[in-house]
Amino acid sequence: MTEKTNSTLAAGAATTRSRLRAGFIKRDLYGFAAIVIVAAAGYVLFPDNLALLTRIIAIALLVLSLDLVTGYCGVATLGQAALFGSGAYAAGILSAHYGINDPLLMTLGGIFAGAVAGLICGIVMLRAHGLPQLVLSIALVYLFHEFANKASSWTGGSDGLSGIVLDPLFGLYEFDLFGHTAYFFGVVLLLIVFTLLRIVVRSPFGMLCRGIKEDPVRIRALGASPHKAVIKMYIISGAVAGTGGALSAISTQVVALDALSFTQSAEALVMLVLGGTGSLFGALVGTVIFMLFEDFVSAANPFHWLTMVGALLIVVVLFAPKGIFGTVQDLLSVRKNTTGETRP
């Protein structure tokens, strides 16, 4: 048995601590920088297609929110768009019916509505596990969809919600026809959400959730309630999805029933699996690749693009089950280990 005095133990602990902290901050900065660089590259490469890029950001927020409950807590859901759509409708209704046209207030409305929808979905979903849980999530998204369809005096029903008017952002920047303002607004929102989520996923709470995903019995033996923690994560997830919904309503100035659809939920799950679950970068990578691929292939071959998307998915699931980001990360760490470097 090793004999260590308390002072060397404490000193060792302190260096480990500062090394770990430096590692976290470095990775956060890399992530932040990567988003800024990709966003800038998108702006330079596709100046005529900023609407698509903004939509990618909105969907990325939806996929991030899905990652929180599926990737970090292990909840199987095909109904995440219920939270996204709630945010979109809340932001849209604030403007179209209440004349609240400030984009920041609309976004706050979307965040709040998403969080409330997250709370409701969380409470219902956690009544079941596994396959029944998945079916509940589908039922929920259809209920939200049908509710929005019937409440057409508020939502415009199947015609969509129109009449959204926007004040300039901070009273300075008009939302222009080319979508410059909306794009910058989206990039800033994404950076804020990403930074906050990085903090959340490596907080004690984030660690607790990862534990719940692996073994709820173990977590209960620690005296923690998995149920409470997952509902809390659902509320956070709802706020993130609601942000995406609000961004979508603000950038397109209409909200369609699609925002609340099963299809949208399923696509989000596909993007998450494509990028890699349980990692925020995975969610972002999956969204960007799926949506760019979809856009590119559907333009190149309007009849068979879905076949191509299907083929891509099969290849990823069969040959890179951890998703594109997860697999690349594994490859890099293997290379690092063989060159003698060790991870902390």
Binding site: A10, F24, S203, L222
Partner: protein, 254 residues
């Protein structure tokens, strides 16, 4: 001395099948009890009843004079009743430091905090490293669990349980599945458990039982048939009968 842990007339029946029949047990701080019994004696059911995973048909469980029979499993852990698992239940992708850190944070009510990585919290990590050091796991603190030996994983189970600062610790076969070469480390760790902790160990390995326990309780067909000193257990006629044969009949005359 007053009892820290009491089980009073605990009974559990699944339909007509009585699996735990009128079991009573009382422990004071510092007790080292080994709970033994042949397969199917109802040891697992007993653990599940005591920890709250199962609801008893009748009877009571008390922790430090507080009845906890109606309190769920997590509430009992928070009140100081902690268990370990027969087969390790650890998170393969996490490190020992993270496991123990999570337990410390949970005990101090900080596991739901949304900010700050606990690996960078001095107060938490001091306790974590201290515990890992005590169990000889310090050098593995930041390795993934999947990379460490099974014997070390068993020690980590103990570290997690101790991080919760229990007053009663239920150890479910702490040396199960550990290669012979590593059992010494486990025994050493068991011998160094805090003196004021009341420990119940479920174990099949009689050598370990005799070295560890100051008191042996034998369960057969759901009933306690012996409760006394380790030296007396092998002489007891009912215990011999339960282990060596005709224990199938023990349920009839219970």
């Amino acid at each position: 001395m007053s009892a820290v842990f009491e089980v009073i007339n605990l009974k559990k029946a699944f339909g007509g099948l009585v699996v735990t029949n009128d079991v009573s047990l009382s422990m004071v701080a510092g007790d080292r009890v080994a709970l033994i019994g042949p397969n199917g004696a109802g040891k697992t059911t007993f653990v599940n009843l005591v920890t709250g995973a199962l609801k008893p048909s009748s009877g009571e469980v008390r922790l430090r004079n507080e009845p906890v029979t109606r309190i769920g499993p997590t509430g009992r852990v928070q009140r100081g009743l902690v268990r370990s698992f027969q087969v390790t239940r650890l998170f393969q992708d996490m490190t020992p430091a993270e496991h123990v850190g999570l337990a410390v944070l949970q005990r101090t009510g900080k596991s739901a905090e949304l900010h700050g990585n606990f690996l960078t919290r001095p107060a938490v990590m001091e306790e974590v490293y201290d515990l890992l050091e005590r169990l000889g796991l310090y050098s593995l603190a930041h390795r993934k669990v999947r990379e460490i030996a099974y014997g070390q994983q068993r020690l980590l189970e103990l570290a997690i349980a101790l991080a919760l600062k229990p007053s009663v610790l239920l150890l479910d076969e702490p040396a199960a599945g550990v290669p012979q070469s590593d059992t010494g480390r486990i025994e050493e760790a068991l011998a160094n458990l805090p003196a004021d902790l009341a420990v119940v160990m479920i174990e099949h390995d009689m050598d370990l039982v005799f070295r560890f326990a100051k008191r042996v309780v034998v369960l057969a067909a759901g009933t306690i048939i012996f409760d006394g000193l380790p030296a007396d257990v092998t002489k007891d006629a009912r215990v011999r009968e339960a282990y060596l044969g005709s224990y199938a009949n023990a349920g009839l005359n219970a």
